[in-house]
């Protein structure tokens, strides 16, 4: 009764093709957006709980937004196109380091002429970082035309380890700093400097909203249907006239683009100063977990998964303090490891299709409530 679309008639083609055809969904989305864009800044401005101090913004909301963007990117590739990838960390690193190079200026002396690019504005750096990641993503997507499944996953590990090594060993990428860690340029967005956490949060939110809407629209359009056909059975899709080359490589390109943008945001806005370890294999696994726990093939799921995987260790870390048991920091970190692993296994057993499926069963229940069927 609570969630019923009865009486909502579609009287035009545009209503029929709306991105959220059900009124309750639209209301919920607008409510969420207003909360995120207006509510959070207001709470921050008046320093009301839960936003008193900067902890929630800096340690939870900003990383949550950026990592959900990365999860959306990986979900396009793995959830919609069915190509398993363990290289997300590498693509984030490529986004971050290319953005860094574009932001500090590029100077390559060649024999005939010199490539000289002056430092670009941060906004363009972030997008160019995404573009570079997309380019490399296409390169590493080529093997997907011949191999699939877990074999492909291991092949994408090649990207992960190769780029880990490149950004440690090739000093050009880090502008020859001795320690190998680099500092992002000032966050100057067309004359507006983002310094305070709330400003950084709003910037991330803007990027995430735009890209999430873009992704949501793409996956229900022509190209999204091609991806899903490839995912469900690639040979059958090919026989129906879908070009696997085009479909798979566009999925790789778009997913790497979004992951690259997420990587440059992670480096520029969240970390500020970073070293290659920030984007190692653990990051790839973390993002893959977000996608799988959240639900393969669901944009909403990416956000739910990101929230779960990010917040869980933070919460578990607090539990022993909260109930007043004195155990050493090392034991706590090991316990967090065990409990995280156990919860992941438990979630996979209870609902292998992730939070997105739980959400849709919940909606079905709400539609019928208070009747059982």
């Amino acid at each position: 009764m609570l969630y019923r679309e009865t009486g909502q008639f579609k009287t035009s083609y545009s209503a029929d093709m709306a991105i959220f055809p059900i009124r309750q969904d639209r209301i919920a989305l607008w409510g969420l957006l207003i909360l995120a864009f207006v509510g959070v800044p207001l709470l921050d401005a008046f320093q009301v709980w839960p936003l008193r101090g900067e902890y929630l913004l800096r340690a939870i909301l900003i990383p949550f937004l950026i990592l959900s963007l990365a999860a959306v990117g990986l979900n396009i590739l793995t959830g919609y196109c069915g190509q398993l990838s363990l290289g997300s960390g590498a693509f984030m690193a490529i986004g971050a380091y290319s953005a860094y190079k574009f932001g500090t200026g590029i100077h390559i002396p060649l024999e005939l002429f010199t490539i000289n690019i002056p430092p670009l504005p941060v906004f363009w750096c972030i997008l160019l970082g995404g573009l570079m990641a997309a380019f490399v993503g296409i390169l590493f997507g080529v093997p997907s035309l011949r191999i699939k499944g877990l074999y492909l996953a291991v092949a994408t590990l090649a990207a992960q380890f190769f780029f880990d090594w490149v950004f440690i060993r090739v000093k050009w990428f880090t502008n020859y700093t001795s320690s190998g860690s680099v500092v992002a340029p000032a966050l100057n967005f067309f004359g507006f400097y983002a310094n305070k956490p709330i400003e950084k949060y709003l910037l991330c939110l803007l990027f995430v909203t735009v890209f999430a809407l873009l992704a949501k629209n793409l996956v229900r359009g022509n190209i999204g249907r091609q991806w899903m056909a490839i995912r469900d059975m690639d040979i059958a899709a090919e026989l129906m006239g879908i070009r696997p080359l085009y479909a798979k490589l566009t999925a790789f390109a778009l997913s790497s683009f979004i992951i690259g943008v997420a990587g440059s945001l992670w480096a520029f806005i969240y970390l500020g100063a970073w070293e290659p370890l920030a984007f190692n294999i653990d990051r790839s696994f973390q993002i893959l977990f977000m996608v799988i726990i959240g639900g393969l093939g669901s944009i909403l799921g990416s956000f739910l998964g990101a929230a779960f995987i990010l917040v869980l260790p933070i919460l578990l870390d607090q539990v022993p303090h909260a109930i007043g048991i004195a155990i050493s920091v090392e034991t706590v970190s090991l316990l967090v490891f065990i409990v995280t692993g156990a919860l992941i296994c438990w979630l996979l057993i209870v609902e292998p299709h992730g939070f997105a499926r739980l959400w849709s069963t919940g909606k079905e229940k709400l539609r019928l409530w208070p009747y059982p069927y």
Binding site: A155, F285, F337, G341, I344
Partner: protein
């Protein structure tokens, strides 16, 4: 002749290191064949086995047991720990996940990895523990033919011998025993095996147990070489390209793949490293695997992939 001697030395040390990769890859292959689970936890099982062994050894020696009996009891203890792990994993994680998608099973083994890594370090401590079961000096071979001879470390040779014995033992187990035959039947076709009365739960427990014992063997060799420590779990990642090159379903493939990867990365480090910067061992195996996959998508020894609509 110095150059050729050096080449041989690098090649031999690479091949022997490759044997150790094969040991880890072998555990993967056994589980993948029998249950279709891509077991990411193999590396953490090596850590668990190694920690159980080295800690019980230290404790027993400190209690005044003679060394040989301490070793026997330590190995038994580690074996029991692996059996308990196998039982728990099969009963509480993979049992309920029967018939799920391969990706879900893979992710659940990563969850298992977290639990084993956390649990092993909580029970047995998280320092670096030296393990001394094999001599760690080296032989010099052919010092008449080549100037300086060829340096071969004894641990590596022991590792090779142990791996050979292990493979022979596994082959006998699979070919000659009733459980071994049942295992091969399950690997061939789950449903058919179950319909002739083979208990799947028991078989999967046995497979995880065998993989655990293989992990124990790997742990003794790697532990002697590097000390038992957390970084041993990264072995799992090194074993992945080995699997890819050999094929997921082939035991000989795991061996040959390990040899190729071991020799290839040592040779690359020695001969390509100076030109493109050191540390290429870090990614060489993966790129090699990528190239092999482009030519043969099922690996060198994998079963031909036949797809139907």
């Amino acid at each position: 002749m110095v150059a050729f001697g050096q080449f041989l030395e690098v090649l031999i040390s690479g091949l022997l290191a490759g044997v150790l990769y094969s040991l880890v890859a072998l555990g993967f292959v056994l589980i993948f064949k029998a249950s279709g689970v891509f077991n990411f936890a193999q590396g953490s099982m090596v850590l668990l086995a190694g920690l159980a062994l080295v800690r019980s050894l230290d404790w027993l020696v400190a209690k005044g047991f003679p060394v040989w009996s301490a070793i026997v009891i330590g190995l038994l203890f580690a074996g029991v720990i692996m059996a308990i792990t196998a039982f728990l994993v099969e009963r509480y994680v993979l049992g309920p996940l029967v018939n799920q998608d391969g990706l879900i099973l893979f992710m659940s083994t990563i969850g298992v990895t977290f639990m084993i890594e956390g649990g092993a370090q909580m029970l047995f401590g998280s320092d670096v523990y030296p393990l001394r079961l094999f001599p760690d000096d080296a032989w010099f071979l052919f010092d008449k033919t080549f100037e300086g001879g060829i340096l071969v470390s004894k641990i590596d040779v022991w590792g090779g011998v142990i791996a050979a014995v292990l493979v022979a033992g596994l082959a006998l187990f699979f070919q000659r025993t009733k459980t071994g035959r049942a295992l091969r039947a399950v690997a061939d076709d789950h449903a058919a095996a179950q319909s002739v009365g083979i208990p799947l739960g028991w078989i999967w427990f046995v497979v995880w147990l065998v993989a655990g014992l293989v992990a124990l063997v790997a742990a003794t060799v790697w532990g002697t070489k590097l000390g038992v420590q957390f970084s041993i779990t990264f072995l799992a990642l090194k074993a992945l390209p080995v699997l890819i090159i050999g094929g997921f379903t082939s035991v000989p493939g795991a061996i040959v793949g390990g040899l190729i990867v071991g020799a290839g990365e040592k040779l690359a480090e020695a001969y390509l490293g100076p030109f493109i910067g050191g540390g290429i061992e870090y990614w060489f195996a993966y790129v090699l695997a990528l190239i092999v996959l482009m030519a043969r998508p099922q690996g060198l020894f994998g079963e031909r992939i036949i797809e139907r609509i």
